[in-house]
Symmetry: C2
Subunit: 355 residues, 2 copies
């Protein structure tokens, strides 16, 4: 069975880490006898926008919908195209039109990576952030009135639906069931955001009834971010709205020192549409073109993709290879951000070899 | 000139730390010859709610509006009254009706306090979070449709006005002007929240034109929370919307290890209405009634109140006294959260003596 993968490298270091992601996937495919077929697309980048006046061609949905997964680099280059145009014109379209309603990100202290938190060692921090990925605070409803005057007012709606909230909660509860600690933390702000957030809380209480074996707690987002720093060992599976999940899934990797190497999966669990796998990091215009970007986020995203396609063992092998190379700590191989003097390619090759 | 201060202790440890706040203020008033007159109010607590069915009496506005400042403990006790009722019924009313549109919180590494961040020392971290405190994501506009069905949808508006955004930015720029580094960081999320946040960015650009000597940068809230952990030394004055400011002003104190002792000021800069001073910590039902709560947040809030009333030197003396007592590290005096075996009263008295 052939798995068809669409490759969109995007902007900046996206184009540099993508080849290493593919290299690692090809090594894994060989070892585990998986049949992957890659097709590369040029659209979804700011250069494409400058040429065509839009981030994606009109028929992007038709072109991509038949693929088994999208493997994505990074998008955005504010000097060329404002972020809200490049992002809403590409990544956020994929998430929404392909109904990738789960954004899943592991937060894990890896060997050889320095955590900014005092006294934390590999094994101490190991949790997932599950983010709602299609609605909530990221809405396109709202507008401006009294434009250009002192009375100017701008309004944007947060929209939560029962369907949208329940399905992300269900996914998070089910993920918690597969974990040894069986713990779920809900991110809320029902003490301040008085309409949508109490609703979120209600749905958590309702959903929890179906999962009596899961220990559930909740924190308001302000103190929750504080607890990520103070007590990262408390967490197992953390579920949040689109915005809260976005924040927590950058902060979590920051606490584990892995923000430059963390992966993410944008999942349509039913498989009606392709899911999308991308590193957490952005396109990093400041270091683009130098060949020094760390490819681990892209490779680790590839591991999540294989797991999603049904090859858990192969995905685990990729993560193990990453851990091995990091543990070894060979500075000629590692990129600068993790204390080495190597390049994107030297690190990518070392991981592919370890696989 | 007599300054009339309204005291509202609120719930839980609010009632325990308040007497120490007053003790420290009285010591300072004596030393600096300031005339403070305290009037205590029973409303604004969950017990008041249980008795009267509302958090505040109907004429609270009339009763309080003539005071020079409100000195506030902590409110909330979820087992008695749901948070969104107790908070919207008290604190959030004060902020809004008294137009306390600035929420100001220092994030400062203090001597003797263990930061959860590796390798950071007092002096390394010293910035302010300026939060918009009356509008934005904390709106009361929205509702529910198709209630109780699968089509249920809940909507809440984020509302930003030019008046509201510009005045908080102006305050933040002016605060940055008083600081040695003259740096302002704006919290945004204009790449995802596509209507209100690009507007916020526009107003920052516009306001910055009037302050050419201030170095301005901006970060999206997700990576900004990460940078609080990774690079807290980057920040000088950070300005954010109501929600983003709320998050950052818990996360900042968490990074400095001061979440239990950080102060906050809710300010109406024009002095049309009384401003409100309160510790960042909540009512902490879990440790309430034991006499072990740390009173520093309350005392430090008192220092901010004196500074607001025009007594900067007196406010500074209170902060110096706090630093002195923390530096000494006498475990018979310090409360447990900061490594001692003392009580709320022993720590409060030591600080009052140091003043
Ligand atoms: C209690 C809550 C409503 C409040 C807020 O979100 O404003 C608190 O977190 C704060 O920061 O003062
Ligand atoms: C780039 C941006 C729109 C995006 C988001 O906020 O979803 C990013 O931060 C992410 O987390 O994937």
């Amino acid at each position: 069975m052939t798995h068809r993968i669409a490759i969109i490298a995007g902007d900046g270091i996206g184009t540099e880490v993508m080849p290493e992601g593919i290299r690692a996937l090809e090594a894994t495919a060989k070892r585990f006898n998986i049949d992957l077929e890659f097709t590369t697309f040029e659209f979804g980048s700011c250069d494409y926008y400058l040429e065509h006046g839009q981030m994606l061609p009109d028929d992007w949905f038709e072109q991509l919908k038949g693929f088994d997964a999208l493997f994505y680099g990074a998008v955005g280059w504010p000097d060329k195209v404002p972020d809200h145009i490049s992002l809403w014109g590409s990544l956020l379209q994929f998430r929404r039109r392909f109904d990738q309603y789960i954004n899943l990100r592991p937060c894990k202290l890896m060997p050889g990576i320095k955590s900014p938190l005092a006294g934390r060692k590999p094994g101490d921090i190991d949790f997932y952030v599950v983010r709602e990925n299609t609605e909530g605070e990221y809405s396109s409803v709202g507008g401006k009135m009294f434009e250009g005057t002192d009375r100017e007012v701008v309004i944007q709606d947060t929209v939560m639906t029962r369907t949208g909230v329940d399905r992300v909660l269900k996914y998070a509860f089910e993920l918690a069931q597969t974990r040894p600690r069986k713990k779920l933390t809900s991110a809320t702000k029902s003490n301040g955001i008085s309409i949508t957030m109490p609703y979120w809380d209600e749905r958590v209480v309702e959903m929890a009834k179906g999962y009596p074996e899961i220990a559930v707690d909740k924190f308001h987002i302000d103190i929750l971010t504080a607890n990520f720093v103070l007590h990262p060992d408390w967490f197992d599976v953390v579920v949040g709205s689109n915005l809260f999940g976005d924040i927590l899934s950058d902060l979590g990797p920051a606490c584990t020192g892995t923000i430059g190497i963390a992966p993410s999966a944008n999942i349509n669990p039913e498989g009606h549409f392709p899911s999308l796998f991308e590193p957490v990091h952005g396109s990093a215009p400041d270091i683009a073109g130098k060949g020094i970007a760390n490819p681990i986020g892209q490779i680790w995203s590839g591991a999540m993709m294989l797991e999603h396609l049904g090859y858990k063992e192969a995905g685990d092998a990729m993560v193990t290879a990453i851990e091995e190379v990091l543990s070894k700590g060979d500075t000629t191989v590692l990129t600068r951000d993790v204390g080495g003097e190597g390049t994107t390619a030297s690190l990518g090759k070392a991981i592919a070899n370890a696989i």
